[in-house]
Amino acid sequence: MTLSGGLTGARGGGAPGTPGTPGTPVAGLGRLLPAGAGAPAGLGRHLEEHGPPPYGDGQGLIAAVEAAGLTGRGGAAFPTHRKLRAAAGAREAGQPPVVVANGAESEPASMKDKTLLAFCPHLVLDGLQLAAGAVGAREAYLYVHRDADLSRGLRDALAERAAHCPDPVAVRLVEAPARFLAGEKTALANRISGGAALPRYGWPPVSRSGVRGAPTLVQNVETLAHIALIARHGPGWFRELGTDAEPGSMICTVHAEGGPPRVTEIAIGSPLDSVADLAIPATQAVLIGGYHGTWVPAIEAPGLPLANAALRPLGAALGAGVIAALPARRCGLAESASVARYLALESAGQCGPCLNALPRIASALAALADLRPPPETGANLLRWADLVEHRGACHHPDGTVRFVRSALVVFAHELAGHEAGRCGATDPAPFLPVPEVPPGNRDWK
């Protein structure tokens, strides 16, 4: 059985920055993403394949999710059963919680949530209903970036369910601007409450006061799809894949040279080089997690298990499941500078340290990506990075600093070359997709 495979996504004719559109399914693990089928799963085929969702035993479902060891697939890998228990506890304390399926996939290099929503919306919606039932929620939302095609498909899916097998809890679709921070959970709560999709201070947490002040359970759409399968097949089945500490499968977006990015379901713990071709010297480094993630030198990649336990010593984490194998012919500093520029522009502009430091950091990294940067540039950059860390309301500055620091470590040889007036890159085509930050739509709604 191949570990990789799955869906290939066309990257809008190769132009970086166009949102990933789901493409043609090929063979894969086949748990979440349909194997070998070319069309989105309608309700009929979904029920044929999976059967109706087993409602009724909320406590049993939470226990099953705990036994399965499912963690959040949005990036933070927080144990899902703890969030479910907290929401169920709020219900018992007389505050009915709100449940939100978070499909606002903000990492530009990640396409897994969009692909999952496009091809298997009913698995996600089953998971949303099961979670809502388990925690006693009366309100449920599906939260996505504004995208006409995606929303049309989701509205169709919701209408199909309403017509054929009405859901216990009505689901409302809420759209947010396609900004990097729109998927952050406090921004999500603000947006669904009717405000701007801007983050706020983390206290009180949305689990206590989120959508219109109600305790709010926010789960990534892939996590909900896993819940839908655990409810049907049980925790033992879920644990057949993955490691003991990190069981199950996850969907990754794999960027490698010579083709569009692939959206593929892998078993957690699969070796990195089974997911992407990482032959040295053709590949120089791998970006793991996303744009808040970490560069790992290609020399570490052979046999490296894709599990947080194995990635932690390298300072990396699975995050949102982005794996980008940077070809040796590209300039790692120029790639990182272009990402850092994007991240700086995506600062919400609310917290002074983030607003003031990220543009300077991005500009300094752009200087380092040039030949013969001013000698103090690197030291300044690291000083600003220290100043900004842990000083934002959300984790945007921390994630950005982590990414930039890892670039300076992994591409240190390239940096030395630039200082001497040389660049090792021979291919000027941008590799990582970096969206244009829109000049309009400044109200974040």
Partner: protein, 238 residues
């Protein structure tokens, strides 16, 4: 009642700490206005101003505490401990001491909410912080009303200087806030500022433009970032 030397010392300590308090609170407000408008001290990182604002406010607290403590222990006048926090409960000068109690209460609310800021919503913190603008004039009025030395020019000058400083800072705040960008545009503006600074610094070093191989970052058409952000040419840097 015969005043002992100790009583006189208490009286003077109370007055001196009161005067220092109003001066320090004025500095706190002025630095606070600059922090709010993202100002900076020449040659210092922006966080220095924030730290000044916080540290001076704690220093002001120390002076205010000594000031109110003196008011209670000083036997020259009769002010009950309750009158420190309950407005107009003082036997001595109920109106003016009452204003002091109001200012003390308001500043205490601002201080406590700032100490637990991480634990509360930003908006509620901000609303309480605005109380500063109510507390400061009340404190100033308390100073003017209770001062027994207002015939001395230096005390009047000091009071009016404090008032002028706050008025100037507030006026500047109004002008600056009208020029401020909405949140979504701030990062872009700062990024182009940083790029311009970098380009200017690099032009100042007068490095001869490198002669690039065909496909290096210095080559025309290199796609990362806008051309203006890539000061490798020479003429387009200014």
């Amino acid at each position: 009642m015969a005043s002992t030397a100790a009583d006189i010392a208490l009286w003077h300590t109370g007055r001196a700490t009161g005067i220092f308090s109003i001066v320090l609170l004025t500095v706190v407000i002025v630095t606070g206005v600059f922090v709010n408008r993202k100002g900076e001290l020449a040659g210092q990182p922006k966080s220095v101003l924030t730290e000044l604002h916080r540290n001076i406010s704690l220093l002001a607290l120390a002076f205010v505490l000594v000031h109110v403590l003196m008011a209670v222990v000083d036997p020259t006048v009769s002010i009950s401990p309750a009158a420190l926090v309950v407005p107009f409960a003082s036997a001595y000068e109920p109106a003016w001491i009452g204003l002091g109690a109001i200012a003390f209460d308001l500043f205490t609310a601002v201080l406590i909410t700032s100490l637990v800021r991480q634990r509360m919503g930003h908006r509620s913190w901000l609303v309480v912080h605005w109380l500063t603008y109510a507390a400061w004039p009340v404190a100033l009025a308390h100073g003017l009303g209770t001062a027994t030395d207002l015939h001395s020019a230096w005390e009047l000058v000091l009071t009016w200087a404090c008032a002028a400083a706050v008025a100037l800072a507030l006026g500047w705040r109004l002008v600056a806030s009208r020029r401020a960008l909405p949140p979504g545009q701030r990062a872009a503006a700062l990024l182009s500022d940083a790029d311009r600074e970098r380009a200017a610094a690099s032009a100042a070093r007068r490095i001869p433009p490198p002669s690039p191989p065909g496909d290096s970052p210095a080559a025309p058409g290199w796609p990362y970032g806008p051309a203006s952000a890539r000061p490798t040419g020479g003429d387009d840097r200014a």
